[in-house]
Every structure is written in structure tokens, then in C-alpha cells.
């Protein structure tokens, strides 16, 4: 499966091994070792899904999620956490995360969620394009 993924974690040992495994599964993986770097990259490129660690220095995953969704509402973000609680899950969903997974994550399950993220993003992008076209047609009064 080809999908453009951004993997974000301050643990660089985790980033390198996880991205290698995802690449062997045909994913096009970019990595960022901080939330700030991730926000810059997400602004410059289009990703099907962002896998985002919850606890990072300077800016944590929830704050990064807030900024990322404000930047690009169609972005699909899957959060990774060392300890998934109901409260964290609810907060993450309220901020627009697609899912929350606990570390260590099963890559097979994560890959399934990434597939769903791709599909969801495609639907949202198509909807946005539809609305744009409607707006243009409406504006021109044809």
C-alpha cells in the first residue's frame, strides 16, 4: 500500500526503526523529531496520515494536533501514547484526532488505521473540491 506518512516522535531510535518497517510495507515515510518540525513539514507537504507521539518536549502531541488541524482540517492524525486513558482519548477526539494508540503499537493494526486515514482524507478532499466548485458556479451566476 502506498501512503504518504509523517512519523513524529522525539525518540529518534524509535523513528528510524518504525519508518524502516513502514517503508518495507510500501509506505512513503517522512520523519520529524519534534512537533515544531512536524508542523513545518505538514505545512509544506501533503500527508495521508500523521503518526504523532503524545509526549514530546516543548510542544506536546495535543498542542501539535490543535495547530495541525487548524492548518489543514483534512489532516488525519493518529496519536501514539505510553498510557492511553479514556480522558486522553476523549480530549484527542475533541481536537480532531482520528485515533489514539498505546505504545508499543502493533504495526498491523496501525497499518489498518493508516489505510482508513487515507480513505477518510480522500473523502474530505473530494468534499472540499465539490464545495469549491459549487461556490465558483454559484458566484458566476451561470
Amino acid at each position: 500500500m502506498t501512503g504518504k506518512i509523517l512519523l513524529v516522535d522525539d525518540e529518534t531510535d524509535f523513528l528510524s526503526i518504525m519508518s524502516e518497517r513502514m517503508q518495507t510495507r510500501g509506505m512513503d515515510v517522512s520523519t520529524a523529531a519534534s512537533a515544531k518540525e512536524a508542523i513545518q513539514m505538514a505545512g509544506a507537504e501533503s500527508f495521508d496520515a500523521i503518526i504523532l507521539d503524545l509526549q514530546m518536549p516543548e510542544m506536546d502531541g495535543l498542542e501539535a494536533l490543535r495547530v495541525l488541524k487548524a492548518q489543514k482540517p483534512e489532516l488525519q492524525v493518529i496519536l501514539l501514547t505510553g498510557h492511553a486513558t479514556i480522558e486522553k482519548g476523549v480530549e484527542a477526539m475533541k481536537l480532531g484526532a482520528m485515533d489514539l494508540m498505546e505504545k508499543p503499537a502493533d504495526l498491523r493494526i496501525l497499518a489498518e488505521k493508516i489505510k482508513k486515514a487515507q480513505a477518510k482524507k480522500m473523502i474530505l478532499v473530494e468534499k472540499q473540491a465539490e464545495e469549491k466548485i459549487k461556490h465558483i458556479i454559484g458566484g458566476k451566476g451561470w
Binding site: E11, D13, F14, T24, Q55, P57, G82, H83, K103, P104
Partner: protein, 215 residues
Amino acid sequence: MSAYQESIGDCGLHCFGSISASISHELKNALAIINENAGLLEDLSLMAEKGRPLDPVRLKSLAANIAKQIQRADGIIRNMNRFAHSADEPVNCIDLGETLALTVALSSRLAAMKSVTLNFIPPSQPVCVTTRLFYIENIVWLCLKELFERAGAEKEITLALRPQPEGAAVIFSPVDAPVTDASTIKLLDYLKAAQSTDSKHRELIITLPADMAAC
């Protein structure tokens, strides 16, 4: 137990809980890396079954990665064990240098989350006070927690220890103002410890009495 003693107890529980949670997060990170390395070994095995040759250099590096994370996790658990036991240690003559080294290790993740570099200068000779081991961990952790939040542009805190005629001084630098957190002040008061600042050397000095056995 008085309300005052209860609040000291609550403060200790909060410290214990926060440090325990931090330890669990660090362990989860080490486990996640081990998990992915093991997963990659599995992936490579499956590819080898389909005819792709195995690269011994790659296998060696994966084995080394796993060993590195196991050592890391082992270090974390060793510190966790020492910390856990400190809660049931009775009043004793304790080596402040060893205690501060442990507290610095336990606070390193919190420092990293605040992007602060935490250093410790061990004393050249043992410096001892009589108290419960956990109280020292608690007071130092509380001070560090507040200082991490306040860390200026330098984003660096250094901890040092100086023997005093009547006890010991724990020095935090560079720090320009005393700690103000209510729990910290209460615990300092409970231990009959004092805080002061040295603006010339930019130090926060926590002076611990030699004998806190009565606390």
C-alpha cells in the same frame, strides 16, 4: 495526624505518583523500540523465506539496538527500585550525594520534556544528614519541578552540594529567585530547612539541617 502532616503526606504522594508515571512512560518508550526492532527481525525473516538474502551486518545492528534498549530499561528499573524502597526507609544517616544523583536521574525525563539540561556536580567527599531518604528526594524534586517551569533562555540547571557546619547546602544554579510553590515551602518548613538566594552567583541555596530525625 494533623492537617499539616496530612498535607506533607499528600505532597509526598504527589511526588511519588509523578515520578512513577514518568518512569512508566520511559519504560514504554524503551519497550516500543524493542518491539519495533523485534518486528523488523520478523519482517526480515519473512523476506528471507521468500528468497531475499539476510544481511548479517543489519542483523547485528538490530541485535545491538535491542541490547541498548534493554540496558536503558534496566537502568530505569534499577532507579525505580531504589526510589520505591526509599519510601519505606526509616530515618537514617543518608549520603546526600547519592540521593541527589538518584533524584537527578529520576527528574531527567521531566527536564527533557521542558527542554532543560540538568547537571549534577557530585561532592568530592560524602555529605550526610539524618532524615528519611524520601524527604530529600521530595524536596529536591519539588524545587526542580518549579525551576524547570521557570528555566530562562539558558535552559540549564546545575545541582551541587556543599557541606555546612550545621548540615548541608543543596545549590541550584543559575537561579535568580526563590521557589514559591506552597507545597515546597511547607516541606522546607517541616524539615526545618531554609532557602536563600545568592544573586552574585545566581544560586538558590536549600540549607538542610544535619539532623532532621524529629520530622
